[in-house]
């Protein structure tokens, strides 16, 4: 496979190739007139062809990892990320590159009319090169998707730690979901921080929404309770469902040093009482 003639062909017929390519893109399988304006498409195509030509002039068209291809790859990466934001699918984006094949190879055939063998050689070389560049767009897609997922996971870590002020001196921390150890530390840190910030006397940790309480979760809970105590706050653990209570007994987890309540309501009642409040119900006298 060779691409000896590629720079020369690009030099000679760039305008025509661009024309054909843009036409191809506007009518072909990857066409998305709804997402991108014709003018923009033409501008991008021209920019790509210019970079492509410069990189091809290096004569290194087998390995796109070489420095000569860096500007082209960078442009592809930019275009791909831009198109992803605009709503193009990965294959539509790859087609941007692949659709260059036909107009380019047409020029090769015209140029090497008298030497069919060389034309085949050249075509195969160019084809392989464009395949690599096209596949590069999917790599970029993949990487940016992974980045999105990673960001969402981090956001979830942050989102999942609501610390609710219940009353003067009383905060509540409803724990919801799986407490893998990464999240548990975040939750506990955030609770301790809020206790300090609010100067709370009592923190209610509600575990109604935690499906499994094993020794690791218990250890985190107990550590948090101990740390809170050092900062002058008492913890109440609420929402221990019957099946969880039974399981904790089998695990020999000792919660005797902690106040536990079946429900958040009971925990709040206890917390209010301890901070010197009383909840009374109005008595309505019947006539």
């Amino acid at each position: 496979m060779s691409t000896i003639r590629l720079p020369e062909i690009l030099q000679k017929a760039k305008a025509q190739i661009l024309e054909e390519w843009v036409k191809q893109q506007m009518s072909g399988a990857g066409a998305r007139a709804d997402l991108i304006k014709d003018g923009e498409l033409r501008k991008q195509s021209e920019e790509f062809l210019n970079n492509f030509q410069r990189s091809a002039q290096s004569g290194e068209t087998e390995n796109i990892q070489l420095p000569a291809w860096a500007p082209t790859l960078e442009l592809i990466a930019d275009l791909t990320r831009q198109r992803e934001r605009m709503g193009f699918s990965p294959s539509e984006t790859a087609l941007f590159i692949f659709s260059l094949k036909e107009p380019l190879l047409a020029q090769v055939r015209a140029e090497l009319k008298k030497d069919p063998e060389a034309a085949i050689e050249e075509s195969m070389g160019i084809s392989a090169l464009l395949d690599k560049l096209g596949l590069y767009t999917t790599e970029i897609y993949q990487a940016s998707r992974e980045e999105v997922i990673r960001r969402q996971q981090e956001e979830l870590l942050e989102l999942s730690t609501p610390v609710v002020k219940m009353w003067d001196g009383i905060v509540a921390l409803p724990l919801i979901g799986t407490l893998d150890s990464a999240r548990t530390s975040v939750v506990m840190e955030s609770l301790l921080q809020r206790i300090v910030e609010t100067g709370s006397e009592i923190a209610i940790i509600d575990i109604t929404g935690v499906p499994t309480v094993d020794t690791l979760v218990a250890q985190h809970l107990l550590k948090t309770v101990a740390a809170a105590r050092l900062m002058g706050a008492d913890c109440i653990i609420s929402g221990i469902r019957p099946q969880i209570a039974q399981t904790m007994v089998h695990l020999a987890i000792d919660l005797s040093a902690v106040t536990t309540k079946a429900t958040m309501a009971e925990a709040l009642k206890t917390a209010l009482a301890r901070t010197g409040h009383r909840v009374v119900k109005d008595v309505v006298l019947k006539a």
Binding site: Q219, T247, L251, I253
Partner: protein, 134 residues
């Protein structure tokens, strides 16, 4: 004793422990275990999967649905090729830990299931089989 269904899950990261718990719960629900028994199986699996990851350096969890006469069993096996446990009796004791845990997981898991079988060879690995019947 016929095995009706089986599945193997690798455990190499912290997230895999979450998947093990989810899977054991799914199987226990499908097999119509009571809520208390579901919770016990899931919690035991959580303990043993974490031990397998932390001390055994990762391994495999195998789930099996068994039938013996009219009773059904959920079997969960934990197999690692880690350092093994030199003194099983000591490891099972409440409060013994060689790490930073509370030393309650192994003994606790044993109390949470019906059958508990542990084999461990130093330098070769640990294999623990737990079964609960209904």
């Amino acid at each position: 004793m016929p095995t009706l269904k089986s599945e193997v899950q690798p455990v190499v990261t912290e997230n895999d422990i979450v998947y093990v718990r989810q899977n054991v719960r799914k199987w226990a629900v499908e097999m119509k275990f009571s809520l208390v028994d579901q919770t016990k199986m899931v919690t035991a699996a959580s303990e043993l999967a974490r031990n397998l990851l932390i001390y055994g350096g990762g391994g495999e969890v195998r789930l099996e649905q068994l039938q013996e006469g009219s009773r059904m069993g959920l079997r969960v096996m934990f197999v690692d090729q880690g350092p093994g446990i030199p003194d099983i009796e000591q490891a099972l004791k409440d409060g013994f830990t060689s790490g930073k845990g509370m030393g309650l997981g192994l003994g606790g898991a044993k109390r949470l299931v019906t059958d508990f079988d542990i084999k461990s060879i130093v330098g070769q690995g640990t294999s623990i089989t737990t079964t609960k019947w209904r």
